[in-house]
């Protein structure tokens, strides 16, 4: 904290001096009447006296800017109007402004700009200078976030730093997920979010415009101070504080038009053709009960047309900020309205923030307060699969059905597919949420800021209520006479954090010591209630949604959870002569989530760094700063349920035993538990190099890491033979290793009015299972396998080996003993690989056919600016992963009358295909889910954001009192390079057991938005 304040003070002092000199210059200009021009010459050198080439030299002539640049010897010549000043600017150096005052020969020696290196970075309970960082920390600054219209903090970080995998579901108001440096844990891989010193994630609906910076602590040494909660990394978000000066008003507005990608599905006419073909095959095959074609419905419904439209997202933000030496403030008000592009979804959010901080003598104090309130119209259907499963022949509305919606019928469209329009209309679900989030802190600075004591109290409170109405009516074949119902469920929680920290910071000659100790207490409490009542009253067509007004059966549930965490923490940073850097962190955590005796865990980390560039022997002028660092640390994790170690009795079972239908209460243990859980630990070793070179234009950060997670706390599915119900118990199961390299490269430069910056980050993570739980050596989940020594979740499927073209080929498909492997196959069926050579296709023929892990993740940022124009491109890509296209599997070749994609060319006698089998209704031999036919290369690169903005010249708008007026247009997800045939290669998969599985996931919307920002 000290460094930060001191830095700011120094900076503001400089700024004052600059302002003064500028003022003086203006005064001079004012006093001197326009005079004759003179030519000024000279040379420009760097701090060592070497000539600088290409330095821009500019001056004002009659209010117009003119300029030149230094030549190969560093010389320049320019004509200057009497009284005008000369400005020398060069990337990597501080600007120099000189008043010739009649001189014609001016030599300038420019000073390197060390701002970039002196920048302080928040690392948790303190800050360090960026150049002194010993861990792996990435920073995202306000400017980078500026042009992102997303309402979600996590999404706004996409592609901006290395080593992060961000996936979002695209639903209005939904949260995105973030994984830092591969999977380290098996329960929860979300990093810890710290907002202004308070625990809290992106779920609180943080306003992106309020953010000043985001730091991502990726390795153990950086994150160690957060101990048990930091095993997946830490994202530290700092909101704006206001700057010294008068009141500054900033207004941002943004209107985004968004739309969702669509499947290219068959229309009714094409569908009928193919569906009849599938029935013909079924009759040929002798599928029982199929004696003729379907008497198709006559409609031609495009279910995507019914459900998808152009969405409009509006985001408005006003902030007021300012401050003096003693006090600073920042307040903002935000409104976001998202009329989802999917029918029946939407999101509406208000938020306001008040941040103040001040200083009086030895006391420092401040608060950050944030309140947000949102309303979300929940999706009532699983639309993306319905689009495929619903035949286009079915009408949207059908008066013959209860509720009046169309759906399957055994003769006309024999399918249990769900009508998404009906689901959305019949089910109403609105989720209202309120967050109150903030902290207050007080600090005493003693002995000239050498010793500081800080008390921080943070509080997060949540209140959410979901009201649902289920009207009468059906959406699928075979649905009974369902009752209408109203329900209301509420959740309320609060999270209290009390922390005090004591810091000591002093420089003794060449020794720089910065130490901190602290203690933190965190308690979380949640209450939930839910009530459902059948048969709400109606007035005409209108349902009365008050629970009191319903007349049917009532059911209610309610409960609470509570947990606590006590931590003692400490850290010492030591630097000698700015060359040798050491950091040691220790933390002791006690949690209520583990059993007596296992509650406490000790975690520590140590880092060393060597700034080679500060050594006397180092003499590479091109390199401004060079540092090697290494660290090692252990972090703990208890990302499990609050009471997972306690066994409980289920009191819900009921039975009737006799004539009077009396209901008896049963009790039993349903959930098995492991009562001996211990801390999960993650050991990380990290070696990195940071370099800044070529006049600070070029930056490199390269990193190698190895992390090993042990005693992984995981809900490892257990055998059904145990009789366990209600989800697998938590267990300490096995260990996992991630190794990886990360590289961040940056180049920025300026040529006159044109400036540009290119940032590229690359990361490669390799994951390996070291051991599995319950003594298993291999673990299977549906379509994947996790084996010791291999990456987690490899695709484990039947392998397709072409299509039988003839009866002869069926007979020829034999194992080594001459047994015909698929005797019942017909021409047009898939030839599967008999992997175990036992002469039949059975479960033992599955084998590893691909990996869901990418070998490279890449982020790219390009910023170009010319005068008021700025063009920013940010892209993100993942390469090498094999993904499962669930949409194609869902289409399933008409086996239950699903729709399919245009361009389908199945095998037929007339047009034999070698890639696509024949289509058969009522037979899943060719469309089984567990085959590698549905796997695809999931590599992609996408320009997730492309923005173009124009800021009006300040000379123009300052006259009307404005500081900045900026208009921008932003395109999101408009350009994607991929071979993946699914809707969106950047889909949200189902988590650790279904990595890379695209089960008709909600795709990311594409959008174009228009923004207007002004500040005065």
């Amino acid at each position: 904290m000290k460094t930060n304040t001191a830095n700011n003070q120094t900076r503001s002092l400089f700024r004052k001096i600059q302002y003064l000199s500028v003022m003086l210059v203006f005064l001079c200009i004012g006093s001197v009447v326009a005079s004759a021009q003179t030519t000024v010459r000279g040379s420009v050198t760097d701090e060592n006296g070497s000539p600088l080439v290409g330095v821009s030299v500019s001056t004002d002539v009659n209010g117009k800017k003119t300029g030149t640049a230094t030549d190969l010897d560093g010389n320049y010549s320019i004509s200057v109007q009497g009284g005008a000043t000369l400005t020398f600017s060069f990337i990597g150096y501080l600007d120099e402004t000189v008043n010739p005052e009649g001189r014609t020969d001016i030599n300038v020696s420019m000073k390197p700009d060390t701002k970039l290196l002196d920048e302080s970075v928040v690392i948790g309970y303190g800050t360090v200078k960026k150049k002194d960082i010993l861990g792996s920390v990435s920073t995202v600054r306000e400017q980078a976030l500026d042009d992102r219209t997303t309402g979600n903090v996590i999404e706004s970080m996409r592609g901006l730093t290395s080593g992060m995998k961000i996936t979002s579901s695209g639903q209005p108001g939904s949260n995105a997920s973030i994984v830092i440096r591969g999977l380290g844990s098996l329960t929860n891989n979300s990093p810890l979010f710290i907002v202004d010193g308070n625990y809290g994630g992106s779920e609180v609906g943080l306003n992106v415009e309020d953010i000043e910076s985001i730091q991502v602590l990726k390795d153990a040494s950086s994150a160690a101070i957060y101990g048990s909660r930091a095993a997946n990394g830490v994202v530290i978000i700092t909101t704006k504080k206001g700057t010294k000066g008068g009141l500054k008003v900033k207004f941002d507005s943004n209107v985004e038009l968004n739309w969702l990608p669509r499947y290219d599905l068959m229309d009714a006419e094409t569908y009928k053709l193919y569906d009849d073909r599938a029935y013909a095959e079924a009759m040929l095959q002798g599928v029982e009960g199929v004696t003729g074609y379907q008497n198709h419905f006559e409609a031609n419904t495009d279910w995507q047309d019914e459900m998808l439209s152009m969405g409009v997202l509006q985001n408005y933000n006003v902030s007021l900020s300012g401050g003096s030496d003693d006090i600073r403030y920042y307040t903002s008000l935000n409104r976001m309205v998202d009329d989802g592009a999917l029918y029946g979804t939407g999101y509406d959010k208000y938020g306001f923030r008040v941040n103040t901080s001040g200083r009086k003598g030895i006391f420092e104090f401040g608060e950050n307060f944030f309140y947000t309130r949102s309303s979300r119209d929940n999706m009532g259907s699983s639309s993306w699969s319905n689009f495929i499963t619903m035949p286009p022949t079915i009408p949207v509305y059908d008066a013959n059905n209860p509720g009046g919606y169309g759906y399957g019928s055994s003769d006309r469209a024999n399918t249990y597919a769900l009508n998404p329009v009906a689901q959305e209309n019949i089910n109403e679900s609105v989720n209202d949420e309120e967050y109150m989030y903030g902290n207050i802190f007080g600090q005493i600075n003693l002995f000239k800021d050498v010793f500081k004591a800080k008390l921080n109290l943070a509080y997060k409170s949540y209140y959410g209520i979901t009201n649902k109405l289920r009207k009468k009516g059906n959406w699928t074949m075979g649905q009974g006479d369902d009752a209408a119902s109203v329900s209301s469920s509420m959740a309320k929680h609060h999270d209290i954090l009390i922390e005090h920290t004591y810091t000591f910071d002093k420089t003794f000659g060449k020794h720089d010591v910065d130490a901190m100790v602290g203690m933190s207490y965190n308690r979380f409490h949640e209450e939930t209630r839910s009530a459902t009542k059948l048969d709400p009253l109606t007035v005409g067509d209108k349902y009365i949604t008050s629970i009191n007004a319903a007349t049917g059966t009532t059911s209610a549930t309610g409960g609470y959870t509570e947990s606590a965490l006590i931590s003692y923490l400490g850290r010492i940073n030591y630097a000698y002569a700015d060359k040798y850097l050491v950091q040691i962190t220790a933390r002791r955590d006690g949690t209520s989530k583990l059993p007596q005796g296992n509650k406490w865990g000790n975690f520590y980390s140590g880092s060393v760094g060597w700034r080679i560039s500060s050594e006397d022997f180092f003499d590479v002028p091109a390199i401004n700063d060079l540092k090697i660092r290494a660290n090692y640390g252990v972090l703990g994790n208890t990302n499990i349920g609050v009471w997972d170690y306690q066994s409980t009795i289920n009191t819900a079972p009921r039975a009737v035993l006799g004539a009077s239908d009396k209901v008896y209460v049963g009790m039993t243990q349903s959930n098995l538990t492991n009562n001996d859980l211990v801390w999960e630990s993650k050991t990380t070793a990290n070696v990195g190099i940071d370099m800044t070179a070529f006049r600070s234009r070029f930056t490199v950060a390269a990193e190698w890491f190895l992390s090993k997670s042990e005693d992984l706390l995981v809900y490892l599915p257990i055998l059904w033979t145990t009789g366990n119900e209600g989800g697998a118990p938590a267990t300490n199961a096995g260990s996992l290793q991630n190794t990886g390299v990360e590289l961040e490269l940056g180049w920025n430069d300026r040529k006159g009015d044109f400036s540009y910056a290119v940032n590229l980050n690359l990361s490669h993570v390799r994951n390996k299972v070291l051991s599995l739980g319950y003594g298993q050596t291999v673990y299977y989940t549906g379509t994947s396998i996790s084996e010791i020594g291999k990456p987690l979740g490899m695709w484990y499927l039947y392998e397709m080996d072409g299509i039988f073209q003839s009866k002869e080929e069926v007979v020829a498909h034999q194992n080594s003993e001459g047994k015909i492997i698929q005797p019942n196959a017909l021409p047009g069926d898939i030839r599967y690989v008999d992997y175990d050579d036992d002469g039949q296709i059975a479960s033992t023929d599955r084998h590893i056919v691909g990996s869901p892990w990418p070998w490279l993740e890449m982020g790219l940022g390009v910023n170009l600016a010319y005068k008021g124009f700025a063009l920013n491109l940010s892209g993100y890509g993942r390469f090498g992963q094999t993904v499962f296209n669930g949409a194609r599997a869902t289409a399933g070749d008409f086996n239950t009358n699903q729709n399919n994609f245009n361009g389908l060319k199945p095998w037929t006698q007339e047009n034999p295909s070698t890639t696509h089998p024949r289509i058969i209704y009522g037979d899943t031999r060719n469309s089984r889910n567990d085959q590698d036919r549905w796997l695809e290369d999931g590599s992609f690169f996408r320009f997730s954001d492309i923005s173009l903005s124009y800021s009006l010249p300040s000379s123009l708008i300052s006259k009307i009192g404005f500081e900045q007026i900026k208009v921008s247009v932003i395109g999101k997800n408009l350009v994607t390079f991929t071979k993946y045939s699914g809707l969106d290669p950047e889909f949200a998969d189902g988590g650790i057991y279904t990595l890379g599985y695209d089960g008709c996931s909600f795709p990311n919307p594409r959008s174009v938005s228009f923004g207007l920002t002004f500040t005065f």
Partner: protein, 517 residues
């Protein structure tokens, strides 16, 4: 300044010490912990109720056992629009993890076993005021566990036999049907000793001595231990059971919710609509208001009326029509069992209500299952019709079969079979105008028993067990296939049992998949 420092340190110290470990001891009081349970008679009783409550699950007796056992056997067929569901009744098992059938059934059967094992593990630690009551509770639990294992054997044959309380790391090995039968023999013998011969009207869902004999008889029959089976059956037919059980004069009374717990019924699974649930509920093990009904009617109702997951094979109609009653009418069992194209003209003097209509010509030659339907209109997800899982007619025919296997078609065997025929209004088998020479030899009589059982017990989840007992030889299979073309897919040595859920075999090194899967 010093004061301030001292002040700060004091506050710090105070807060440090205030945060003691007590704050980390947080008990879950949302429900009872296992540590305070299993202490009293009431706890044991509640533990047993939790076993009974497993009847109301989709993977047990609420839903899936009916279409699966009927569909596999030759009396039922599935034309369900859900292709995978349909394939599973036709020996076309593609995905062994198919959750609706194999997942749910496996899982919920083992949950029942786990619940029963908890009661059995704790019962001896509890003091009971009345030892008889304690033994009754133990016997009920043993009976229920045996009952479930009997059906698990019918479905999978080689699943693990688990008799102790489970723990998360368990990896039980396969068992054989014989090992299971041996265990059931021991357990049911214990149950027979402790169970009362009759129950009062409030406790009819609890098994009686007769239910234990009947279940044990079925176990012995599957084990081909005919002499032991016969002894059990004798208790029911000639022994004490004779004064308790008798055939109902009206066959239909066995499948009506208006004649439950009648004298023909030896054990019935009790269903109720007391808990009204507005929607088709997926199994919610935590819902105290969960439904307590059966979906047998929904799964077997005609297409476009209910789910129609299963319907009857046409041969049943033809077989029923082979003989008429002594008064010249069609077999009343046909009327009570099926709806088919000529049902109205075949039974002109009876009422016909196929969910609000008569037979529709568009239904063609399909045959709907009427057995266990109720008169609730419109059809609801559940009904409250108790399922007569053990009834006297079954026992009489088993007796005839056991006796025939032991001594050939003796008078006793023939008389037991005739009792069942006579109740349906048919003449004694010796006088049948259609079946000639049925009592001429052991083999002939066995073939006759197969037909009689098929007609008397059709679509009651008995047929599949019978087919398994009689065995699938090539000849036998040809005959079955003629009635049910699904058996075209049947591979001898493989399809006598279903595959085990693949995930269970994959993740349990001690559990082998059934042969040839």
């Amino acid at each position: 300044m010093k004061k301030i420092i001292i002040g700060v340190l004091c506050v710090a110290l105070a807060i440090f010490s205030a945060c003691s470990e007590d704050h980390l001891d947080i008990q879950n009081e949302n429900t009872l912990s296992t540590g305070v349970f299993w202490q009293t008679e009431d706890d044991i009783e509640a533990g047993l109720i939790a076993v009974y409550s497993m009847f109301y699950r989709q993977g047990t007796w609420t839903r899936n056992i009916y279409p699966q056992m009927q569909g596999m056997a030759d009396d039922g067929v599935s034309y369900a629009g859900w292709t995978e569901l349909n394939e599973w009744t036709k020996f076309k098992y593609t995905n062994y993890n198919f959750d609706e059938v194999n997942g749910k059934m496996w899982r919920e059967h083992f949950t029942t076993i786990y619940r029963a094992n908890q009661v059995l593990a704790h019962i001896d630690k509890v003091e009971f005021a009345d030892a008889t009551h304690k033994e009754d509770l133990r016997a009920q639990t043993l009976w229920l566990r045996s009952f479930y294992y009997f059906y698990m054997t019918a479905l999978w044959d080689n699943m693990p036999l688990i008799l102790d309380v489970s723990s998360a790391a368990d990896q039980p090995a396969n068992s054989s049907p014989e090992a299971v039968f041996a265990q059931l023999e021991t357990d049911l013998r214990t149950a027979i000793e402790a169970l009362p011969e009759t129950r009062d009207a409030e406790n009819t869902a609890r098994p009686t001595k007769g239910a234990a004999y009947a279940l044990l008889a079925k176990v012995y029959m599957q084990w081909h231990k005919y002499a032991e089976a016969k002894t059990c059956l004798e208790w029911l037919i000639e022994g004490n059971g004779a004064s308790i059980y008798d055939l109902m004069p009206d066959y239909g009374a066995n499948f009506s919710n208006k004649n439950e717990n009648n004298k023909e019924s030896i054990y019935e699974i009790h269903f109720s609509l007391t808990h009204y649930v507005g929607f088709d509920q997926t199994d919610n093990y935590l819902d105290p208001n969960a439904q307590l009904g059966t979906q047998i009617e929904e799964v077997q109702s005609p297409k476009d009326i209910g789910w129609n997951n299963v319907e009857a094979r046409r041969w049943l109609v033809d077989y029923y029509k082979r003989e008429t009653t002594v008064t010249g009418e069609y077999d009343p069992r046909l009327y009570y069992t099926l709806w088919y194209d000529s049902v109205e003209s075949d039974f002109p003097n009876r009422t016909h209500d196929i969910y609000g209509s008569g037979w529709k010509s568009e239904w063609g030659s399909r045959v709907w299952i009427k057995k266990y339907s109720t008169d609730v209109r419109p059809l609801y997800y559940w009904n409250d019709n108790n399922f007569r899982v053990l009834r006297l007619a079954d026992m009489l025919l088993l007796y005839a079969e056991a006796e025939n296997e032991l001594n050939g078609p003796t008078d006793k065997a023939i008389s037991a079979l005739n009792k069942v025929r006579n109740r349906a209004g048919l003449a004694d088998i010796q006088n049948s105008t259609y079946y000639k020479g049925a009592t001429a030899s052991k083999d002939a009589f066995r073939e006759q028993i197969k037909i009689e059982r098929g007609l008397e017990l059709s679509l009651e989840c008995v047929r599949w067990i019978d087919l398994k007992r009689w065995g699938f030889t090539t000849d036998e299979l040809a005959k079955i296939t003629a009635r049910d073309p699904d058996f075209d897919n049947f591979v001898i040595g493989k399809h006598e049992r279903m595959p085990l859920p693949q995930r269970e075999c994959d993740n349990n090194p001690n559990l082998k998949q059934n042969e040839n899967y």
